[in-house]
């Protein structure tokens, strides 16, 4: 009878540990203090909820962004995105993302690419694609699509191509 047992070994961590950053879902600013970071509502503008996203996805200064819920409905717009899409956040909430954005190459038969990116946002690294405001031609944005929260949602960060 043997008391030998398999040796424990270190294995690579399958989870990507990208540093997380907290920012306001409306003004995009980071909470100024640790106390403000624990608050649910942005202490700077008061018009957004403080959410978390990976450092590689989170909006940088001047970038516009959109927050989508798991039902693919829009639930938050940054101040810049309100200007880009010409809509106020209260009027846009609960409308489908396709009412506002579509892939720039939608005519090429890849119209679902944006939706696919949002759906898999929680399970993969941020994806990059080119989008345009729905029904508008000649305006294109590079979009980073990834997960944000809590609660679970998707973040689309727009920057000029």
């Amino acid at each position: 009878m043997s008391f030998a047992r398999p040796a424990l070994r270190l294995v690579p961590d399958p989870i990507d540990h990208t540093p997380q950053v907290r920012f306001c879902g409306h003004c995009g600013q980071s909470p100024p203090t640790s106390k403000a970071a624990r608050s649910r509502v942005c202490a700077l503008c008061g018009l957004g909820v403080v959410i978390t996203a990976g450092e590689d996805l989170a909006p940088r200064r001047g970038e516009s962004f959109i927050i989508i819920d798991p039902q693919l409905k829009l639930c938050g717009l940054s101040r810049g995105a309100e200007r880009v899409l010409e809509v106020d956040e209260p009027d846009a909430v609960d409308r489908h993302i396709c009412d506002f954005l579509e892939p720039a190459d939608a005519e090429a038969g890849q119209g679902d690419e944006l939706l696919q990116s949002i759906i898999v946002a929680g399970f993969s690294a941020p994806r990059t694609m080119v989008v345009r405001p729905a029904g508008e031609y000649g305006v294109r944005y590079a979009a980073r699509v990834g997960a944000c929260g809590p609660p679970a949602g998707a973040l689309i960060v727009l920057s000029t191509v």
């Binding site: 879902g25 409306h26 608050s39 649910r40 509502v41 202490a43 008061g46 018009l47 957004g48 909820v49 959410i51 927050i67 819920d69 639930c75 938050g76 717009l77 956040e89 209260p90 846009a92 909430v93 609960d94 944000c148 929260g149 609660p151 949602g153």
Partner: protein, 303 residues
Amino acid sequence: MRTLKTSEAAAVLNVSPNTLRAWERRFGYPKPQRSPGKHRLYTHGEIAALRDALQEGLSISSAISRARESVAADTHVLVGALAAFELERADAAMEGALALRSVERSVEEVLLPSMEEIGDRHGTDSAPWALAARWACEWLGRAQRLSPPPERRPTVLMGDATGDQLDPDALALRALELCVRRTGLRTITLPMNGLAGLGDVVSSYEPRVVVIAGGEEQDDDVARWAYRVRASAGALPVMLFRRGGTGRSRTTGARHLAGSPTLAARQLLDLADGGVRHPAAEEPLEFDDIAVASTSRRPRLTA
């Protein structure tokens, strides 16, 4: 119903009072009432619903949308109860509504919209409407009995020009009576067809404003009633409530009150408190082909 001052509501939500006021401007929510000193008073239920929604929302807009939905749920519950003829459940739905809102807002945001929904679904000449309308009138009557006694002397005289109890305008009139009573004013409601002894009643109460509510009575009947009132009480401002049109009446010179009972009650309070003679008071009352002189010195009905 528990209410919170701005600082208390802000503390519950862990935001600054300025943020709360910014939400009110941008989103129209939470919607505070005003204290007698004109300070904001938030209902605890609305603030609690918003606090919970903020934990589950990805933005202020979506949290407010969620909180609004949870507050609007009372209307669905009441419509469901009335459509199923379950009046006890309807009472419970109004109790639930009162936990989140003032009496006035419960009437305005839950009871009246629910009744409108029942009217749209079944028609106002149907048995389901009759059942619901009787229940609603009883509920408003109960709420009126529970209102604090009037603390101000000015009285608002309401001329009931509505049809029977099933007339939707009759329900609106009951709601207006309740809202006026809750502002602290005294109200008396008299039917248009009771002319005998009207002068004695009017002299006894000395009303400061007259409201003619409803569109069922003919203009000449209304004119006769208004003439008797003015003959006893002198020139009084005459306001119209739910009597067609919205601006200044072409024939009567009387002004229309807002369709919302709460707003109409506030307008009446301003009129009664101001104590100033309404410009319309000095003008002759004319209902189509009948002109009624408005001063007590010349009480003459001309055809």
